[in-house]
Symmetry: C2
């Protein structure tokens, strides 16, 4: 067993660059990173790092080049030299990895010079890591890859070599911000802002040479719990003063500190409501403390009533973020980014796009994804999520001629720019992500955040090429991974209805697990039908949170997309989908099919025995067996549940228990 897997940056990935003569021009810590990368690559593959003379690859950091985006780079061929130019070290780093990904093709042809720049200004990973082990959630909340890579023994780890490797991986895919601790801020973690700050400085130093700024999640109650004040009222001058002083201290220690991430008035976290203030009051108070230093507040829109009564059919958790935040559009300071989960509920395998994204034109919005697979197999299941994120980013809330979600986040829709954020899936597991194939989700998030137009298959193709030395595995891995999100969808909760997972840990099926809970996540299945009526006509009115045309498309059972039917409508089991199949038969068919697809995935993988490293082969083989067991359990519980309830037999006569 290796100590830590190289992920998508094994030595083999640098063969094309490393076998050539390479020149690096420029100064600064990130240029030094590029130079180090080149030095290692040429040592591995027989090339040379040259100071002058002819070069196959010239990496040039020239601050006066007229380019305004420090993250941009231009790459082209000048004679027999491939030249990458950037005005800043970080642009050069991105250009270098662009060339690495291109491989041999970067060194052929006449390659006209082409500018590359990120489509999103902020590309951030949030870690839900705790310093201490949480008694229920563990050290990493919703983490499925072991403990935290940052913390051990009550503080930041002594040995940061793993963090260094992580920063290198993130830099290679263009991630430029990392939030270092859980949005649920517990007692010890709150102190990262104050007496544990010297530890945070050490982490910032590790991330800086890779172009990454660090953030902290802070507790809204910190003025009380850390500051000893009697209140955390955001309009109280002493509170504002406390935030200002604490923030100044942070910047004195970390001049390029990114800012704060805040989960307030959500799932028991403290917030401005306690003082009769709104979220803008809360966010702006922190923003004003950060503004003098160029820092940003990421304020999460994940706010809802988690003590709902299941008997109350009028409250709809899906409405909550829009109800809370849309009226505040225009009230947030310029250095506040509202961080909105991609869907209105909570990272389900299938949800509509959050209506908040189309409802706040005067607010900076970041779309939040979940790379950690909380509801999508917990890194025991292969579930390649890039196609899901791509669908969300490409969604056009105003119809086919309107802007995309990516446009809104990027500031291309006449709205101020936010960015994209995701919850990391990394832990101290030797494969980083528990499931070795889940590395592709981390890679793919960075790549899509850079360019939302990339095809998921192309992103996966890059990842396969970098990660595996033996190119003959490519087709098999595409076969196994390309469609794995839809496979997961098939064997779990059907037609956008969501949840049906085991309460608490959210792994494995429990159809009624949340049906009578206070969490606001119900399916309302009875003997006649299933689904949640969220129409304006007869339901919760949630469809009215969307602009035209989606407010009408979702409203009508005729035009609502099949895959979201049960999210928007309660329909009888014999309702006929656009596919031509009834809802009940669709449930049976997809659950049999999804489970059988997993069986085929396992067969496909078995065929790679001698073509992938033995440790990777072993781990994935083991996990595919668990995925098959779990998918079988999903198939049988869901089918039996609906068979018992509907009384409708499977028209193909397959076994339903």
């Amino acid at each position: 067993m290796i100590d830590v897997h190289p992920a998508w940056l094994p030595a083999s990935a640098f063969r094309s660059v490393g076998s050539r003569r390479v020149r690096v021009t420029g100064d600064g810590p990130v240029v030094a990173t590029v130079r180090d990368e080149v030095r290692t690559a040429v040592a591995d593959h027989g090339g040379a790092l040259v100071e002058d003379g002819p070069a196959d690859l010239a990496l040039v950091c020239a601050p006066d080049d007229g380019e305004t985006d420090p993250e941009a780079f231009v790459v082209g061929r000048e004679g027999t030299t491939t030249v990458v130019r950037a005005v800043d070290g970080v642009g050069l780093l991105y250009g270098f990895h662009h060339v690495v990904r291109q491989g041999e093709s970067a060194f052929t042809g006449d390659g006209e010079a082409r500018r590359h720049a990120p489509r999103q200004p902020i590309r951030m990973l949030d870690h839900w890591d705790n310093v201490d082990e949480h008694p229920v959630m563990g050290q990493v909340e919703r983490g499925y890859a072991g403990g935290s890579i940052f913390y051990a023994d009550g503080g930041v780890r002594e040995d940061l070599s793993r963090v260094r490797s992580y920063a290198r991986l993130l830099g290679s895919i263009g991630v430029n911000r990392v939030c270092l601790n859980n949005v649920n801020v517990h007692r010890t973690e709150a102190r990262l802002l104050t007496d544990l700050l010297p530890d945070v400085v050490r982490l910032a130093e590790v991330f800086r040479p890779h172009g990454i700024r660090v953030h902290l999640s802070v507790s809204f109650a910190a003025p009380i719990t850390l500051g000893g004040l009697p209140t955390a009222d955001p309009l109280d001058p002493a509170v504002r003063d406390w935030w200002a002083h604490v923030t100044a201290d942070v910047y004195a220690a970390i001049p390029d500190f990114g800012g704060y991430v805040v989960k307030a008035d959500s799932e028991g976290q403290p917030g401005p409501f306690a003082y009769g203030r709104d979220h803008a009051d809360g966010a702006n108070t922190l923003a004003r403390a950060l503004a003098p230093f160029g820092g940003t507040v990421f304020w999460r829109a994940f706010v809802y009533n988690h003590r709902q009564d299941w008997r109350d059919r009028s409250t709809d958790r899906a409405r909550a973020a829009h109800d809370h935040f849309a009226p505040l559009d225009g009230s947030f300071d310029a250095n506040v980014v509202l961080q909105v989960k991609n869907g209105p509920l909570d990272f389900q395998v299938r949800e509509p796009v959050s209506p908040v994204i189309a409802a706040m034109p005067r607010t900076r919005l970041a779309v939040e994804f979940q790379v950690t697979q909380e509801y999508t197999g917990q890194q025991k299941h292969v579930c390649h999520l890039v196609p899901q994120w791509r669908e969300v980013l490409a969604f056009r809330p105003w119809g086919e001629d309107g802007h995309t979600v990516a446009d809104v986040a990027a500031g291309r829709a006449g709205t101020p720019a936010g960015g994209v954020v995701a919850v990391s899936n990394v832990g101290d597991d030797p494969f980083w992500t528990g499931h070795p194939l889940a590395q592709a989700n981390l890679f793919g998030f960075g790549r899509l955040a850079w360019d939302d137009r990339l095809a998921p298959e192309a992103v996966l193709d890059e990842w396969i090429g970098l990660t595996f030395a033996d190119d003959s595995v490519r087709d098999a891995l595409h076969g196994l991974m390309d469609g794995s999100w839809r496979t997961y969808e098939r064997y779990t909760a059907p037609l956008g209805v969501g949840f049906m997972v085991r309460p608490g840990d959210h792994y494995g099926p429990d159809v009624d697990g949340y049906e009578y809970s206070p969490w606001g996540t119900y399916h309302f299945a009875d003997r006649d039908g299933v689904g949640v009526d969220r129409t304006r006509a007869t339901g919760t009115g949630y469809t009215g949170q969307y602009p035209v045309p989606w407010r009408d498309r979702y409203e009508s059972v005729e035009t609502c997309p099949d895959e979201l039917l049960l999210f928007f409508h309660h329909v009888p089991y014999d309702h006929v989908l656009h596919s031509g199949e009834t809802v009940i038969q669709h449930i049976y068919d997809t659950h049999f099919a999804g489970r059988d697809e997993v069986a085929r995935m396992a067969d496909t993988w078995a065929g790679l025995a001698d073509r992938v490293p033995a440790d990777v082969f072993g781990r994935v083989t083991e996990l595919l067996a668990e995925q098959l067991r779990c998918a079988t359990e999903w198939r049988d519980q869901v089918n039996t549940y609906f068979r018992r309830k509907s009384g409708v037999p499977d028209k193909h006569g397959r076994t339903i228990y």
Copy 2:
């Protein structure tokens, strides 16, 4: 707030005895206990402990009296003196408390001398206490009254005054054995048998003056984990030797040690199966180690497959104990008692009597009850269980002319004597039992174990009279408690079907909570009907484990008692009960009624505001509010679940969500 509540032995309970002239004759530690009781009582109430001269009460321990049962006593009036005679201190103690319970009536009339003796030789309480806090189960497994009264800081408590009070309470109701630790024996607790033994000695010393022998739960794997042997095979000579030596050491320290309690090959506990041995091999090995010292093994019959597949309809957990143990009848040594749960599943609010009890005429059997309210409201709900236990003890497996369950346990059915055992409901809570009214279950267990013919209302009446100084609360408490078990049954799982509780903690409703689990506890509700077919004709054959007449009565849907219908049969919702109501309407009716009864219980209690101590009033008021909330939740979840599934409306048009 008092430090610890006096339970049924407040000073006021001793008024009749304490206001009189009392003589105590005899020697030994238990007689000394009686003398101490009298000394305290007369000091409180103005009487006198006299050495000679006229007495109102003479308590005489005379070993040569011709009586063979040391626990028996004779009480009568000789002139104006009430005389209690016994051949042993423990009989005298029981006689003393008999007089205390009688109050003034013990001192009137000409009272012919009458012999009293326990109807069961063994009356035992098992504590599921751990020395250490268990990460999931807490310090007391299935404990609802705080931590353990025995253990703190990794060993037996320094201060044993609470244990002393507990021993006194148990002695007053005739409990004569206590097992000191959890049947699931974890690492630290295993060591009570060896290096923590000096601690156990201290506990034994506290219980001894109250006529109580102590037991330990032991791990079948102890020869390996404690003894360092390579095996725990019960037929291995080294293993037998190890048990013999360890047991001899225990008796050297505690000459009246009671023996062992063992949960083997059950829910993950080690046992003889690993060595290809059966339960008799296992139990007899321990029995032979204990025999030279007069010790007993209590071997639990709670053995079943807890990794069942819910899809497998042929395996029936209810069958398991009989399947495992009935064939072993005649194989157990004379100092083995097979400890059988009262029902075939697990202490549900309603189960049939375990068929094992009628199936092993050559085996000593003890019936095990659960005083701790795991499945019956967890001491947050008033659920007076004495009527349930009374029904079980009075049940006649061979029909109306046959012996009762109590007869079998007592050895009156031509079978060797076992006894009755219960899991204690006591913790370090100031009221002992969390819910102050749950003290009545502990009291009632002792009284029924002494005499199974006592009426539950009479036992409760004794408890009320002893516990509450103000006699005007008597009717209200009967109204609140007499029927509370049936009330609990009404608002929870219907018609004997069982479970429907939240997995893990077993509190509150979750109709499908165990429906797709590996635990073997299913209800099989579908749109047409509900219940488990355990008939010989079409089901699991479980009815065949009973003798005539019950094998036939349970087999037929016509003769099966209503309250067990769904335990034995899967029936359509429109099946008409003997009550004349359909199953579905019965479910609705009982759930509305049960919940409303709780509301009335809360009203009744509110009327006692100035007649019970303020702390008791406050705690019970709080808990009744929780009971009402929880009963409402049960009503609504169960009704909604079956309304959705059956499609049948409530004929009275009440609200079902």
